[in-house]
């Protein structure tokens, strides 16, 4: 039988195509456009090839920002994932306590980023902030606007406060989906609390934890607003993570070419890490 060829169905794809074009493709291509050219006033462009990419990849400034970024993301993942799982494990499983805990846990997630930054800035100020003042009263020489260690400590603490809830909520959902029969079977076997966690809860939470790690990686790797409001990247460049450094370069110094190249490199790093991570997890899944 001959099939009638009718390509009109493609018309239905047009709205999506337009949407995606404006949403992703056009802005991205603009950046690509800048990254290969030098820009002067009056829309004059000259072709520069891969010069900006080489410059960025060889610059110490980029290496430092990237190092700080990986360090920050590593620290908050190491704190938030175990802490989130631990809080989820200790949360009540029935009764009024469940709703109370869930609402309390959701609160930090509902606060806008810049408000979180401003809140913590005031909270941590050594003279008037509750945290800063208390720490100084206790004899710690704490000043996040001047000392690198204190700036990092405050930034990490702020992110832990803001985002651990997400890990808690995801872990809690994973835990709640485990049938009670698993716990009973473990009880009959005489399994220890640790064995129950290691051999029942953790494997059963694996999928939600994958999502949690992936989300927390992406969000923390692209973090901008909160440290920008809290420390502005300082003292010096101590908390200038990739995005903060990028904005400085693009809008502060107006180096559009190198900034465009940097944002593309930045984008590919995020994409690459997510891809590697996702594939590792999926391959692990297939082996089972």
């Amino acid at each position: 039988m001959n099939k009638t060829v009718n390509q009109k169905a493609w018309l239905f794809v047009i709205p999506v195509f337009i949407l995606v074009a404006f949403n992703a493709a056009v802005p991205l291509m603009t950046v690509v456009n800048y990254s290969f050219q030098e820009t002067f006033g009056n829309n004059v462009f000259t072709w520069e090839g891969t010069r900006w990419f080489k410059q960025i990849l060889r610059s110490d400034r980029f290496h430092d920002a990237l190092g700080r970024q990986f360090l920050f993301t590593g620290i908050i993942l190491l704190i938030q994932i175990p802490l989130g799982i631990f809080i989820a494990l200790t949360m009540p499983k029935k009764g009024i306590g469940v709703s109370v805990c869930l609402v309390l846990m959701s609160m930090p997630l509902l606060i806008p980023w810049n408000v979180v930054g401003a809140m913590w800035n005031i909270f941590a100020l050594p003279e008037i902030g509750f945290l800063g003042h208390t720490l100084n009263d206790l004899g710690f020489d704490y000043n996040f606007t001047q000392q690198i260690g204190d700036a990092w400590f405050t930034t990490v603490l702020m992110d832990v406060w803001h985002w651990t809830s997400l890990v808690v909520l995801l872990s809690y959902a994973g835990l709640r989906s485990i049938q009670p029969a698993y716990y009973q079977a473990a009880e009959i076997d005489g399994a220890s609390r640790w064995a129950v966690f290691r051999h029942i809860e953790l494997p059963k939470m694996k999928k939600v934890l994958t999502i949690a790690i992936l989300l927390r990686f992406m969000d923390s790797f692209m973090i901008y607003t909160e440290p920008f409001v809290l420390t502005g990247g300082g003292p010096g460049n101590a908390t200038a993570f990739l995005s903060i450094d990028l904005v400085k370069m693009a809008l502060g110094q107006f180096d559009l070419g190198p900034a465009a190249a940097m944002s593309l490199i930045y984008f590919f790093i995020v994409l690459l890490v997510c891809w590697v991570f996702y594939n590792l997890m999926m391959r692990n899944e297939e082996q089972k």
Binding site: Q179, A181, Y182, Q184, A185, E187, I188, D189, G190, A191, H199, I200, P203, K204, K288
Partner: protein, 355 residues
């Protein structure tokens, strides 16, 4: 060896889940808890295992009171409706898991796992993880975990309910053989009367938290002490209708269906008759049958059987015949009831006669 429940009661808040229950299971017996969903079978099993404490009453095992003893110290095994295995262990490690805390040598563990896996036809998949197995194999693994540690009490909570029809039949046939030469008490909860009949042993019919009747499976089936027990032990549901006895004749109310009584001791008056669906057929069966007519409501063929729902005297009847008998909905059907298999109950729903 024996397991005994003495006046066991279970309340959760204001709700009574199990009413005062007395049961005694003997050594090397298979005992079936038969009842619908939420009848209390699982609660009863969890109390037997020690996973749940009774509100009142005592549990005795081997003539010893074990009411407060923790489940790990009781030497029990349990298999659930869901396929419960450790997700990141191989089949081998899963089967071995109950032995690991007993501290016996790994050579002995290997030997035992090998034996049990042979018995349950799992020897080819010891290196696999549970989620690589079919449902039937996963449940076999769970069964192997229950069998490996020589428990005195093995509890099976609807173990076949999540399996598809063929696997269920296959495993159901094997089950009684698995327990044959074991020194243990098996308790098997199910909603299916056919499970009870195929496995045999003893049956306790359970309804709304009460044990209605306990005895040899075949006796409970043939002589239910009351209507509730008869209803629990009948699938498709048993037909129950009011009947009047006068002289030596029974008659259905509002209808001309009549038959002769064989039980001379029964007084005249009102009774209820229980007729199992397979005793109403499209053909005459037995020497003593009576005709019943009705309008066909539903006609279903399932394999080699025909299920016909029909209406007579404002009541819906269910009949089950061997062979395929296609009927049209709405047509007038003529069926035959086997009078010899009728069960009569008094107004208090207790069995008074089954001849």
């Amino acid at each position: 060896m024996s397991l005994e429940l003495k006046s066991v009661e279970k309340k959760v808040g204001q709700n009574t889940h199990i009413y005062s229950t007395n049961l005694r299971f003997e050594k090397n017996s298979i005992n079936i808890l038969l009842g619908s969903t939420l009848a209390g079978k699982t609660t009863l099993m969890q109390i037997m295992a020690g996973l749940d404490k009774p509100t009142k009453g005592e549990i005795w095992f081997n003539e010893k009171n074990v009411t407060g003893v923790a489940v790990q110290k009781r030497n029990v095994s349990m298999v659930y409706q869901q396929f419960i295995n450790y997700p990141n262990f191989t089949v081998f490690d899963n089967i071995a898991s109950p032995l690991k805390i007993t501290g016996i040598s790994s050579d002995q563990i290997k030997k035992k796992v090998w034996e049990v896996s042979e018995l349950l036809k799992l020897s080819g998949m010891l290196e696999k993880k549970p989620n690589e197995l079919s449902g039937g194999q996963q449940q076999r693994t769970a069964l192997a975990r229950a069998l490996i540690k020589d428990s005195g009490l093995i509890l099976l909570d609807e173990p076949l309910a999540n399996l598809d029809f063929k696997l269920r039949e296959e495993l159901r046939e094997e089950l009684p053989k698995l327990f044959e030469n074991r020194d243990c008490i098996v308790v098997y909860a199910t909603t299916e009367p056919s499970d009870a009949l195929l496995i045999g042993g003893n049956t306790a019919t359970i309804e709304e938290g009460k044990v209605i009747q306990y005895g040899k499976t075949i006796d409970v089936y043939n002589k239910p002490t009351n209507l509730v027990s008869a209803r629990v032990f009948s699938d498709p549901p048993i037909n129950i209708s009011d009947v009047k006895k006068s002289g030596d004749t029974f008659s259905l109310s509002q209808d001309s269906v009549k038959w002769k009584s064989k039980d001379v001791s029964l007084k005249d008056g009102k009774y209820k008759v229980g007729i199992r669906p397979h005793n109403i057929t499209t053909y005459k069966e037995g020497t003593n049958s009576v005709e019943i007519k009705g309008k066909v409501l539903i006609s279903e063929l399932s394999g080699s059987e025909s299920l016909i729902h029909f209406e007579n005297s404002n009541m819906n009847w269910v009949s089950l015949s061997n062979g395929t008998h296609q009927m049209n909905v709405g047509q007038e059907a003529k069926l035959y009831m086997n009078v010899d298999e009728f069960m009569y109950f008094d107004q208090n729903n207790n069995l008074v006669s089954n001849v």
